[in-house]
Symmetry: none
Subunit: 398 residues, 2 copies
C-alpha cells in the first residue's frame, strides 16, 4: 500500500545507524548510553520524537543483515539475504544469478587435535590474507567444471564464489562458531546439494593443504552459502536517490544489493561525515553506518563503549548542521557490553524533522526512548515515518 | 472473533470525533492542544485512560473516510468507500447498487488559458449552486441511455449520479487538486470504462457550456467516482442502535452507509449537543462529529485552533453530564496548523468509563496521551475497547 502513496519530493534524509547502539545495565544498573556524555544528543532528543524499535520481533536477536533490512523497510521474515552474497557485494564483485557465494575465514587449528584455537587466525593482516588467497587461486581455477573465484576481504576474511550451474546453498556450515571445537563437516542438507557439497569439500581439502604449514592461518572455515538476492532497489521502492557511507564491507555489500550508491570514505567517523557533506547535493537519502559501538559491545568493553558514545555526541552538531530535512539516529540492533553479543533489546530511536511532536526535556537513552512519544514500534515502521516527515507520502483515501 | 463475543447491554456510548484534533509544534515547540485552555479536558483525562491511535498505519496520512472507517472498526485496508458515494448519501439520495456517484465542484477557470484559478468558485452560496444545478438538470436528463441526476450540496459542492448498467468507476479525475493547473482530461483507466468516460465527458461538455458565462462558477471539477458500498451495518456488527450527529454532509453520508440513523441538528457544537441530549433514550451509541478544528488546521490558523479547543473544553461538563456509560474523545486524524493539512501523526485518545484505569494527574495533549496507559494503538482497537467498557463483550474461552 505504501508504494502507491509515494511521490517525489526534495526533502533530504539522513539515517544514522550507530551499529549496536543500545545496551543493558552493568552491575550498577546503568547502561552504556546512560553513563555516556550526551549533551548534544539530549538537546537534539528534546527537539525530536523518541521511541524504541524491534528489528525482527520481541525477544529475537537479529543478525546485522536482517536488522538492516528491517530498517530499510524490507521485512526480514519475507526477504532473505545470505551473508555470502553480502560479503561478495561488499568486495564489489560482479555476480551472476547462479553464483554460489561463501563467506570464508582463515582460522588457526591445533595440528594434532584438529580443534579450532582461533576462529580469526589471530586477525592476520590483510596483506597476509592476500598472499594466501593468491596462492589458493593460482593453484585452483576449476573443480569438476565449476569455476572457483577467491577474493580477499579485510583481516582474516575472504570470499569464495563458485560459478556454474546446479549449485545449491543447502549445505552445512563448517564454522563451529566457537573455539575449542573441530570444524564441522560440510554436508549436503538435501540430495540436490550433494554435488555442491563434493565441490566445496574438494575446495576445502585443496585450499587447506596449501596453507597447512602457516603459523596462524592454517585452516579455513566456511559459512553463509548464498546466491545473489533479487530485491527491489530502494530507489524504486521509495522514489529516492540513496547513498551508503560505511567503512565495513558487509554494510556496503548490503547497500549495493539494495541498489544504493556506495561512496568512498576514510575509516573514521569524521571522514564518513566528510563524505556525506561532500555529496549532499547528489543524493536525497544517506545511510550513514557507524560501526565501532557494536565492536566494543561484542568485545565486552563497557567503558570504551561509553567513551565512543561521547564521540557520537560530539558529532551531533555536524550531523544537524548539514541542512537535512529528516534525521534519524538509531541502531540496527543492541549490543550490550555485558552480553558481549548482539541482543534482543529494542533499539533507541530518535527522529528529528520540523514536523515531529517534540519530546521537550528528554534523554537519548534506552529509558528515555521507552518514554518517547513514538512508543515501541517495529523497525519496519521507520521508513514510513521517515518518508512521511520528508513529505513524500500522499494521503490515503479522500 | 470479536463478533462472537458481542452481547446486548444497556450501556450507552458517546464517541466524540473532534475532526483534526491532534497537532504539531509551532516554532516555540508547542502544539495547539498544549497551548489550549484544558481545565475540564485535563480533569476528565485524569479520570480516564489515555493513548494515541494510528488510523491506517505508521506514517500514513489518512483521508477522512478511511480514518472514520477505522474508528468504527472497519479496516480501511479491507473496506473501500468511495467519496462520491459518501457525498451522495450525505445528501440522503436513495441509490441503486449500480449507480455511479461523482463528487463535483463548481470552480473558476480563466477563460483564456483554461487554468483553474479557484477550485471552490469563491465558495458561491448554496442558493447560487441550486440555481446552476437546476439549470443543468433541466437541460439534461439522459446521455446515451444513462439517466443523469444532479443534486446540490453545500456551497460549491454538488453530486452527479449516473444511473444505468455497465457503468465503471475506473476513470481519471478531472480535479487537478491545486490551483494554477488545467483540469485533467477524464480518461478511461481500463477499456471496460470507455463508454462511461464518454458519458461523463459528454455530461461535462454540456454542463460547462450551460455555465460558461457565470462570473465565478464557470467550470466543473469531477472526482471520487464510486458505487454505493455494501458494508455490514454497524448495528448488526456490534448489536447497537447507533445515531450520527454531524453538520457536514460527508460524515452524515458515511454514517448512513454504515446504517446509522442521522439526526437533524443545527450547525453549532451546542446545537449538536442539544440533539444528542434530546435523543438520549432512543440510541445506545452516538457518533458526535465536531468539524471546526480540522478546518482551522487546514487553513493554518494555529491561534484559532487553540481557541476552538478552548471551546471543546467548555463543552466537557455537558458531555460528561448526560449520563453516558462510556465516553471517547478523539480525532479521526491529526490536522496540524503548521502543516495546513491532514497528517500522519497519531490521534490523541481519551476513554472514560467507570471501569478504566485512571491516569491520575494527566494532560489531554499529544504528549499527555503518549504517556497514557493505553499506549499507542491502532484505531481499529477503539471499538473493542469501547464495547468492553460498555460491558458488551462476553468472555473469550472458559
Amino acid at each position: 500500500m505504501l508504494k502507491d502513496l509515494i511521490r517525489p519530493h526534495a526533502g533530504r534524509i539522513l539515517l544514522v545507524v550507530a551499529d549496536g547502539l543500545g545496551g543493558a545495565p552493568n552491575v550498577d544498573g546503568i547502561t552504556e548510553m546512560e553513563m555516556a556524555r550526551r549533551t548534544n544528543l539530549d538537546e537534539l532528543a528534546s527537539k525530536s520524537s523518541l521511541g524504541l524499535t524491534d528489528p525482527i520481533e520481541t525477544g529475537v536477536t537479529p543478525g546485522s543483515v536482517p536488522a538492516h533490512l528491517a530498517l530499510f523497510g524490507y521485512d526480514p521474515h519475507e526477504f532473505w539475504v545470505g551473508r555470502g552474497a553480502v560479503e561478495a557485494r561488499g568486495l564489489n564483485l560482479k555476480l551472476l544469478r547462479e553464483d554460489l557465494c561463501i563467506r570464508a575465514n582463515f582460522c588457526t587449528i591445533d595440528r594434532k587435535t584438529g580443534i579450532v584455537t582461533d576462529r580469526r587466525a589471530g586477525r592476520i593482516p590483510t596483506a597476509k590474507n592476500e598472499e594466501l588467497v593468491a596462492r589458493i587461486q593460482s593453484a585452483m581455477r576449476k573443480i569438476d567444471g565449476i569455476e572457483v573465484l577467491v577474493h580477499s576481504g579485510m583481516d582474516y576474511r575472504f570470499v569464495v564464489v563458485l560459478r556454474g550451474t546446479g549449485l545449491s546453498t543447502r549445505l552445512g556450515e563448517s564454522d563451529p562458531e566457537k573455539e575449542g571445537l573441530r570444524p564441522r563437516p560440510i554436508t549436503a542438507l538435501t540430495w540436490r546439494a550433494e554435488r555442491t557439497s563434493e565441490v566445496v569439500n574438494e575446495f576445502l581439502k585443496k585450499a587447506t593443504e596449501l596453507i597447512k604449514d602457516e603459523e596462524k592461518a592454517n585452516y579455513i572455515l566456511l559459512r553463509g552459502y548464498a546466491k545473489p538476492p533479487d530485491l527491489e532497489p530502494i530507489n524504486d521502492r521509495y522514489w529516492l536517490k540513496a547513498a551508503c557511507v560505511a567503512v565495513y564491507p558487509a554494510y556496503k555489500g548490503l547497500a549495493r544489493i539494495l541498489g544504493m550508491d556506495v561512496l568512498d570514505c576514510g575509516d573514521t567517523w569524521e571522514s564518513e561525515l566528510n563524505t556525506v557533506e561532500q555529496n549532499l547535493d547528489k543524493y536525497d537519502f544517506f545511510f550513514l553506518h557507524l560501526k565501532e559501538l557494536d565492536k566494543l559491545g561484542e568485545d565486552g568493553k563497557f567503558a570504551k563503549k561509553v567513551e565512543q558514545l561521547g564521540k557520537l555526541d560530539s558529532l551531533v552538531p555536524r550531523i544537524t548542521g548539514m541542512g537535512f530535512d529528516v534525521i534519524v539516529i538509531t541502531g540496527d540492533h543492541s549490543t550490550p557490553a555485558v552480553l558481549k553479543a548482539h541482543s534482543w533489546h529494542p533499539n533507541p530511536f530518535l527522529l528529528w524533522s520540523p514536523w515531529v511532536r517534540r519530546e521537550g526535556r528528554a534523554e537519548f537513552t534506552e529509558r528515555g526512548c521507552a518514554r518517547g512519544q513514538l512508543g515501541r514500534m517495529s523497525a519496519l515502521e521507520v521508513m514510513p515515518l521517515v518518508l512521511a516527515n520528508a513529505r513524500k507520502l500522499a494521503k490515503f483515501g479522500a
